[in-house]
């Protein structure tokens, strides 16, 4: 079996070498130790002694420069083999051992050491930023990144128009608005709410003349209090009173668990401009821990919150975490409007006050003209039954008509 002789790598600066001269001839029988060739590297010239014995078959002629580990010559065991080599027999495998068989370590992707908590969506920082700018709800998107992470391409896909032209009902179309972005989000959430819950609405009216008089005493002290306290601030205070009487109204259904909260984060539905003159937008901003605030603070914080939202500086907290929702049409709807507002999931309950109306009512046996606030209350019957719902409504009603109870 022929022995290979390769160009050795003799120094770090050596990538190639040159056989200046072969000191034995093709076909010669060479002894081990006999001078074989003069090899020149980048720095040094060597008279090389033959490492093996055999019949010499020269592969690389003198004067040629070759890379290290190139086959220079072979030693044949006998003349037959020499003949074979000279006739171009394939030489045995040479060169450095194959390292390919060992697995290179797989790269460690930055593992999330904290599993996302309830409600936390896996999304890249870039995707979050893009979603926020586009008004997309991350919770509603499907992530195609590793581990279901939402990445840029998912945001781009969600933004893409998939509008199919609606079947024309009228001849002349005023506008076409693709169902995308915020509109699509709202559409999806509304249907989801109606589909997944057992919600129903009840309406009544509460006499708010006394409450309005109370409010007036705050309004005349606007400068002192630093704010012109709104009616809604008092309404929120009354809602808190009612929640304290029937705590289960301040809850969320999460998976198979009704989580009843101690603090009250008031979701407030806010109308925002749509993308065109025809449509509108809607978002729920959240005022946290209203149960710990007085009406002045509620009013101030609510105004600051809405300000932040309208100027694009809303924080994540401003837009999430509601335990109860308030959705008012007061001042916009016709007086006395009764409504059936859709629940803001995952909240159990939502209060929908509307425009106050003047009516004749019987009070202490007399017929008086009083200001009545129409209130519609939507609740999820999976969690809140009719009896506790009625008790909640009564508690609110009582507090509105006897505003002193807000001090309780």
């Amino acid at each position: 079996m022929a022995i290979d002789y390769l160009m050795p790598k003799l120094a770090m600066a050596m990538n190639e070498g040159t056989v200046n001269e072969w000191l034995a001839a093709e076909g010669d029988y060479v002894e081990q130790g006999q001078l074989l060739a003069t090899v020149e590297t980048e720095k040094v010239s060597y008279d090389v002694e033959s490492p093996d014995a055999g019949y010499l078959h020269i592969v690389v002629p003198a004067g040629e420069t070759v890379d290290c580990d190139t086959l220079l010559a072979q030693f044949a065991a006998d003349e037959d083999e020499l003949q074979q080599l000279q006739n171009g027999a394939v030489s045995p495998a040479l060169a450095a051992p194959d390292v390919g068989s060992v697995q290179s370590p797989a790269p460690k992707t930055a593992a999330m050491t904290v599993a996302p908590g309830q409600g936390r969506v896996k999304a890249s920082p870039l995707a979050r930023k893009m979603a926020a700018a586009a008004g997309l709800e991350l919770a509603l998107l499907v992530g195609t990144g590793p581990g279901g992470r939402i990445v840029k391409r998912d945001i781009l896909a969600a933004q893409q128009s998939a509008a199919t032209a609606p079947a024309a009902v009228g001849d002349q179309v005023l506008a076409r608005l693709p169902l995308q972005g915020m509109r699509k989000t709202i559409a999806t959430r509304m249907t989801q709410s109606l589909r997944e819950t057992a919600q129903l609405s009840s309406s009544w009216e509460s006499d708010i003349d006394d409450l309005m008089a109370l409010r007036q005493s705050f309004v005349v002290r606007e400068e002192q209090l630093g704010t012109r306290v709104s009616f809604n601030a008092f309404l929120i205070k009354a809602v808190v009173y009612a929640i304290r009487r029937v705590p289960i109204a301040n809850s969320c259904l999460v998976d198979d668990e009704i989580v009843i909260y101690d603090n009250v984060n008031m979701g407030i539905a806010v109308s925002i401009p749509g993308s065109t003159a025809y449509d509108s937008g809607l978002m729920v901003v959240v005022l946290h821990n209203v149960d710990r605030m007085g009406v002045v603070e509620i009013d101030r914080e609510m105004k600051a919150l809405i300000d932040r939202v309208r100027s694009g500086n809303a924080t994540a907290e401003d837009l999430s975490g509601s335990t109860f929702t308030l959705s008012s049409t007061a001042g916009i709807a016709p007086p006395g409007l009764k409504t059936t507002p859709v629940l803001n999931q995952p909240n159990t309950a939502l209060l929908g006050p509307s425009t106050p109306v003047q009516r004749p009512v019987v009070k202490d046996g007399e017929v008086l003209v009083r200001t009545l606030l129409p209130l519609s209350f939507t609740f999820d019957h999976r969690i809140l039954d009719g009896e506790p719902a009625a008790r909640w409504m009564s508690a609110l009603h009582e507090c509105l008509e006897n505003p002193g109870l807000m001090l309780a």
């Binding site: 002789y5 390769l6 160009m7 050795p8 790598k9 003799l10 120094a11 770090m12 600066a13 050596m14 590297t41 720095k43 040094v44 060597y46 090389v48 002694e49 490492p51 290290c68 580990d69 051992p97 390292v99 068989s101 060992v102 697995q103 290179s104 370590p105």
Partner: protein, 330 residues
């Protein structure tokens, strides 16, 4: 202290082995069959043999990197095939193929080799310290070249060894060269051993081409150390026939070492000197020498066969990471 016939035969045999092993390493390097560098020991084989042949198993040894410590280690009774396997990246190597050519044989008290010249001077102090505490007569044979004594740590080691009378032998193999730099140009003192004077350490200068002279001096120093008398500095004036390492030119300063220099050096060929002596003194016959040479050749062949037949070490990264720290047994 005159050597006995047995001692001389043992030394001669180790010298034949050192010579053949060195030639084997040189050849393999030229064939591309070694990993890393090789610093050839032609002309420099006597010191390792002379210094180490009479060490015990439990004596510490730090071999010189000249000849990759082979002449030292085989003289201490280490089976070089495991080092050759290591030097060819095989899993049967003394360091599981991980070290390239940095040997370690802890059971023979040869703990390590490192690429930093003068690395030995720090640990030898510790070995001497441990040996002194144990009071079992162990000695530390610390072999390194003239260049290594440029290191500050060499002076710290001599200071502390002499001060504490540690059983450390400072064995300096002075071949007058460090890669290209000559000792004549780099060191102001003619003899490296004169440094020992400053520390109050006794010293001797011996002919580094004469394995028997080296052995005599070494035996004396070993006896002193075993008896608790402290360190000795032995300077073996030796020669480096080849370049510093294969692939590097053979320069002194920045000019080629001349033909005359080489011819002059080769007049003091250690194998020749030792052979003349054993023949002349009737210690060994030519026939006996030839038998010895054949036996050693077979040994070298077996070592090569072992290394070449072994598998290349390719443990997974996980296995290697697991091996970074020693296991904890509490």
């Amino acid at each position: 202290m005159a050597l006995t016939r047995e001692q001389m035969v043992a030394l001669y045999r180790n010298l034949v082995r050192a010579d053949q092993y060195n030639r084997m390493m040189y050849r393999r390097m030229m064939q591309g069959k070694l990993i890393g560098f090789y610093h050839p020991a032609e002309g420099a084989i006597a010191p390792g043999v002379g210094a180490c042949t009479f060490l015990n198993q439990d004596d510490n040894l730090s071999p010189h990197h000249r000849g990759h410590g082979i002449t030292h280690m085989l003289s201490k009774g280490i089976d070089i095939k495991y080092y050759l396997a290591e030097h060819t990246g095989k899993e049967t190597g003394c360091c599981k193929g991980r070290s390239a050519f940095h040997f370690s044989f802890p059971e023979h008290k040869v703990y390590m080799m490192s690429g930093f010249i003068g690395y030995n001077f720090a640990p030898v102090v510790g070995w001497g310290f441990a040996a002194k505490r144990r009071k079992q007569g162990q000695v530390v044979m610390n072999c390194s070249g003239d260049g290594s004594y440029g290191q500050g740590r060499a002076h710290e080691a001599m200071l502390m060894a002499q001060n504490w009378k540690l059983p450390v032998i400072f064995f300096c193999e002075n071949n007058g060269m460090s890669i290209f730099s000559t000792a004549a140009e780099m060191h102001p003192m003619e003899d490296i051993s004169s440094l020992a004077l400053g520390f109050g350490m006794p010293s001797r200068i011996v002919d580094g081409q004469d394995v028997f002279a080296i052995a005599e001096a070494s035996l004396e120093a070993i006896a002193r150390a075993r008896a608790g008398e402290g360190p000795t500095f032995i300077e073996a004036k030796t020669l480096r026939f080849n370049e510093h390492d294969i692939g590097t030119p053979d320069l002194a300063g920045w000019e080629e070492r001349s033909e005359e220099d080489h011819a002059k050096m080769r007049e003091r060929e250690p194998m020749k000197i030792a052979t003349e002596r054993v023949l002349g003194d009737g210690i060994l016959s030519q026939d006996e020498i030839e038998v010895m040479e054949r036996e050693v050749a077979a040994e070298v062949e077996a070592a090569e066969a072992f290394a070449d037949a072994s598998e290349i070490a390719r443990p997974s990264v996980e296995e290697l990471l697991d091996a970074v720290f020693a296991p904890q047994e509490i």
